[in-house]
Amino acid sequence: MISGRGLAKRYGERRVFAGLDLDLAAGGLLLVTGPNGSGKTTLLRILARLTAPSAGELALPAREAIGYLGHAPMVYRELTALENLTLLGRLYRVPERGERIGMLLERFGLWDVRHERAGSYSRGMQQRLALCRVLLHDPALLVLDEPFNALDEAGAALLDAVLAEPRTRVVATHDPRRVEALATDRLAFA
């Protein structure tokens, strides 16, 4: 699913990482750990096709097969949960998107507030909405950057269930305990 050789990323004179080899089979979970500024987010953005490596060769799925969750929820705050997902469902050409959106909103406990603006949600609810967005098009590859951020125990349990589903996953976190048991591959930045 993912294969990288000699990956490097530079921003001007600053080297983020270099000489990184990476392999992740379909269905595997790559756990990425490391301190702040070590390159976790940069690597995940590369794996999500949002930025290109400065050097190296990388094979990735097509961009529409990727579900990316960054540090921020990445939803329009002035739109309702339903409007956010309907817009993206249209752009992703999700078949039977009304049913799919309804199912996700139910699953993540947002159905009753689907007509409220995302900006009025608590940070934890926004993170749940972000997870709905990430799963909307049923991506083959999930790229999740600190996905447990702001989630309460019930929300974290919902995310645990998502991570246990059979798909390829890359997860960066400061707290690997929840993911450790599922990890098939590990990458620790120094």
Partner: protein, 206 residues
């Protein structure tokens, strides 16, 4: 083609809905264009020619458009939505076209106030001027949206957009003040195609 147009429509509708709820950009544009025309009314010497008055109208319109363009990508920047949109399978030029149409809507709304105000303060607005404004709007919004997307990725985005946009708007002002309609049509044709074709590369690594 149908899916492309539906994507463009959905993206433009989203921007109009965001503005309808946030009410940030359009009120500022309306206030700015009215204030500018009032200032110009008192600044222009009595008896000055129609060409001078039209020059001030076009200055007001270009700077009003710049105000709208500066805000155009704020929701995408502040909420990280650029990354979300470029990951979708939608053609990236649909993002540009949807945003251009939304900015065009805001600018047209500002002009619905600006042109009667110009008529009240300076001189009557004839059909040729209205046609020139409509043609110029297309060029302003398409080029401005492209530059807005380029600027949004940079740190000095508030500085970068005027530096990119104002030189590109000079031909629009020349064509508008002189009411050279064919010149404006040519400008639109060239820059719509250029912007449409290059937007893909602008957002390749934002």
């Amino acid at each position: 083609m149908r899916a492309y147009l539906q994507d463009v429509g959905a993206l433009a509708k989203k921007d109009l809905l965001l503005e309808l709820r946030a009410k940030e950009t359009l009120p500022a544009m309306l206030l700015f264009v009215l204030a500018a025309l009032v200032v110009f009314h008192f600044a222009l010497p009595h008896g000055a020619g129609a060409t001078a008055a039209r020059g001030l109208l076009w200055s007001a319109l270009v700077f009003t458009a710049l105000l709208g363009l500066t805000r155009a990508f704020v929701p995408e920047r502040e909420q990280g939505m650029f990354d979300v949109l470029v990951l979708t399978p939608a053609d990236r030029s649909a993002i540009w076209l949807g945003k251009s149409l939304a900015v065009l809507g805001f600018l047209a709304a500002a002009e619905l106030v600006a042109l009667p105000a110009f008529a009240a303060f300076f001189s009557a607005v004839d059909g040729r001027t209205v046609a020139a404004v409509a043609l110029a709007d297309v060029g302003i919004c398409t080029v401005g949206t492209l530059f807005g997307a380029m600027a949004v990725a940079g740190r000095a985005r508030e500085l970068l957009l005027p530096l990119l946009f104002l030189p590109a708007a000079i031909p629009i002002v020349v064509g508008g003040v002189g009411r050279y309609l064919w010149f404006l049509v040519l400008y639109d044709a060239i820059f719509v195609v250029l912007s449409w074709a290059t937007f893909e590369y602008v957002v390749a690594e934002t």
